[in-house]
């Protein structure tokens, strides 16, 4: 049973110009209760890796540079 790749639009957006993950920040990744954010190996910036979000907002609130925006997941909007 091979696995397919199904696209999904994720609710959390990171402004890469503001994100300072490349300086060592991992705040949003650390605080997310659902553990769905990661620092990308490719860009060195934070991004939402898994579409499993409670739109609870610690990531946005605790980000020191205001780089994170939490939108309501599309299915609920």
């Amino acid at each position: 049973m091979p696995l397919a790749f199904s696209p999904t639009t994720v609710p959390v957006v990171v402004d890469e110009a503001k994100c300072i993950a490349d300086k060592g920040c991992t705040v949003c990744v650390d605080v997310c209760p659902l553990d769905v954010l990661r620092i990308s190996d490719l860009t060195g910036k934070a991004h939402m890796k898994f579409d499993e979000c409670w739109y609870c907002m610690p990531c946005e609130k605790d980000c020191p540079t205001g780089a994170v925006t939490v939108n309501i997941p599309y299915l609920l909007r």
């Binding site: 049973m1 209760p33 659902l34 299915l75």
Partner: protein
């Protein structure tokens, strides 16, 4: 991150607290304060800094029993009546007597409650009888303040470890737990003299109407692991048929906050803009009325604020959109809904287990002890009804203190290393498969079946079909579930808990052949309340690998409820109008 790492460690402690949300940090603190020499470990699936129901904060205490506003006796009576009398009063009374101390302590921690201009607690009246609601206009300080205390007391914190099973000794005592790292899949064995379970509600049982797996009322990290672990360890679980169902803002699936907006004059209304709820307390009865109105020609149901002054609405928004579920403002904004103009559509939540809001939890006595020696439970997953946040804090404190005392006089129990080996195999099984069914699909199917077959109104034949279909899913879970990384492994293990909870929900619901607690246990083919046969708790436990339910008599009331009082209250609750 997320790649599998073969790792195995064993740690030993005196008191192990599992779940670092609300009750857990308090339990750990109190255990440590009781005896600073004790080795206290706090294990958390997420990060204690921002975990659990209160990860962003909380709008207020729903059930504060503060001298001058309400008495423990009065509170105990009201909870007893709101639960149709199916209450062991001792833990409720203990909570009510103790919670004011805890409020003051939280205040000292820097958690801020509403105060009047003179700096005294400013409680609001929401119910007809007692006054219990203490708002927290700056409730976003809760988690930060708690975590600070944990660090100051030097409690050992283990973040991003998901507990999977409890360990028991040959004499049946608790001996510890196993856990797995959610980012590396490393396996951890924790040996302990006492264990306190604080893993929150089973919030991922039903599927939200939106279909989004994580759009639940509860914080979705609370996938019912605590219920499943207690069950597998042989502990009794009480009244699981008394589901949690909450009134919500439609689609957003967050609380509509009658407790916040109510004191300002907002209320729940039908499409004609009129009130319809007769019931005075948040209870199954109230949910039934809500459900009836939703289904009626006067439905759907709304939160009405548009009669309030614009300044007042502004004040409410300031609270609702900032603290507990701050994305609520964004939700309304995207749809162009303004509280000042339109009523807000409401709905009911998916089902779950939670004693915080109803009464379904691991059975505990007034010392938070479960039926397994050395094992405690507190918060939403323990059976003290209508606990809410302050109950989690207070009973967490009770559990922590008692567990610390017991740990002092207990030697480290032995444990079964064969069991640990088997558990490690079970846990890692989805990582050993090359292909199969991913956890998100298994989860969706399980929860869709829960909605189709187990949600009230409950019908016997339907629940039986549900059991059969869930058994098929269990086969898939045991033979085909695949996890490609550590994160998916966490989700896989969560599905296993969800499935256990679904089985327990069906079993417990079928056992009680009457209707009780309004919508929570509305059994269509047994529509009447049957006090002669069912004025009792039900306890569910694992016996020889199977689910077994039994009745448990209600402990004699310590705060007697005169028949007359009950009718007086009923007159408040139940309409004598057509």
């Amino acid at each position: 991150m997320d790649n599998f790492v073969e790792g195995l460690s064993e740690v030993t402690c005196d008191v192990l607290v599992i779940g670092g949300g609300t009750a857990g940090p308090m339990a750990a603190l109190k255990a440590k304060q009781k005896n600073p020499a004790l080795n206290v470990v706090l294990l958390e699936k997420a990060n204690v800094k921002r975990s659990g129901a209160i990860c962003m904060g909380m709008d207020g205490l729903n059930n504060a029993v503060v001298p001058g506003y309400a008495t423990p006796e009065q509170y105990t009576k009201e909870i007893t009546i709101a639960n149709d009398g199916i209450v062991d009063q001792a833990p409720v009374f203990k909570y009510a007597s103790r919670c004011y101390d805890i409020i003051q302590e939280l205040d000292r921690f820097g958690i801020r409650f509403q105060k009047n201009a003179n700096g005294d607690f400013d409680l609001k009246k929401v119910h007809h009888l007692g006054t219990y609601v203490l708002p927290m206009p700056n409730g976003d300080t809760v988690k930060k303040a708690l975590y600070r205390q944990i660090k100051r007391e030097r409690i050992l914190v283990s973040n991003r470890f998901m507990a999977t099973r409890l360990l028991t000794a040959s004499d049946g005592r608790i001996a510890g737990a196993t856990a797995v790292n959610t980012r590396t899949a490393e396996f951890l064995v924790l040996r302990a003299k006492t264990v306190i379970l604080c893993m929150g509600a089973a919030g991922r049982l039903g599927l939200p109407h939106s279909g989004y797996l994580f759009g639940t009322y509860e914080n979705p990290t609370n996938s019912g692991d605590g219920y499943a672990m207690a069950y597998h360890a042989g502990a009794a679980l009480a009244n699981l048929e008394c589901y949690q169902i909450n009134p919500l803002i439609k689609d957003y699936n967050g609380p509509a906050c009658a407790y916040v907006a109510g004191p300002f004059g907002a209320y729940t209304a039908n499409s004609e803009g009129n009130r319809f709820i007769e019931s005075d307390y948040w209870s199954g009865q109230m949910m039934q009325e809500f459900y009836n109105e939703l289904q009626s020609g006067k439905g759907p149901v709304f939160l009405k604020l548009n009669h309030l002054h614009a300044d007042t609405v502004g004040e409410i928004e300031e609270i609702l959109h900032k603290v507990e579920r701050p994305s609520r403002g964004r939700f309304h904004q995207a749809r162009g809904t303004d509280y000042r103009e339109k009523m807000i559509e409401m709905h009911i939540s998916e089902i779950g287990f939670c004693s915080g809001h109803s009464a379904s939890g691991v059975f505990v006595d007034e010392f938070a002890r479960t039926t397994v020696p050395g094992l405690y439970a507190a918060g939403d997953m323990a059976s003290v009804p209508h606990n809410y946040m302050l109950g989690a804090f207070t009973n967490g404190a009770v559990a922590g203190e008692h567990a610390a005392e017991v740990a002092l006089e207990t030697d480290l129990p032995d444990f079964d290393s064969e069991f640990v080996k088997a558990e490690r195999k079970r846990v890692l099984a989805p990582t050993r498969r090359e292909d199969g069914i991913p956890p998100n699909q298994l989860e969706y199917k399980t929860r869709r079946l829960v909605n189709d077959y187990l949600q009230p109104p409950k019908v016997t034949a339907r629940m039986r079909i549900g059991q059969a279909r869930l058994a098929e899913v269990r086969d898939d879970l045991e033979t085909a579930l695949v996890a490609r990384n550590a994160h998916e492994l966490m989700r896989s293990l969560e599905v296993s808990s969800i499935l256990d909870c679904a089985d327990m929900a069906a079993h417990a619901s079928l056992f009680r052949t009457e209707s009780r607690w309004g919508l929570y246990h509305n059994r269509v083919d047994y529509p009447k309340k049957d006090d002669d046969n069912w004025f009792c708790h039900t306890l569910l436990r694992k016996v020889d690998g199977r689910l077994v339910s039994e009745k448990r008599p209600i402990q004699p009331y310590i705060v007697p409820i005169e028949n007359e009082e009950r009718t007086a209250y009923d007159r408040l609750r139940v309409s004598n109008q057509a």
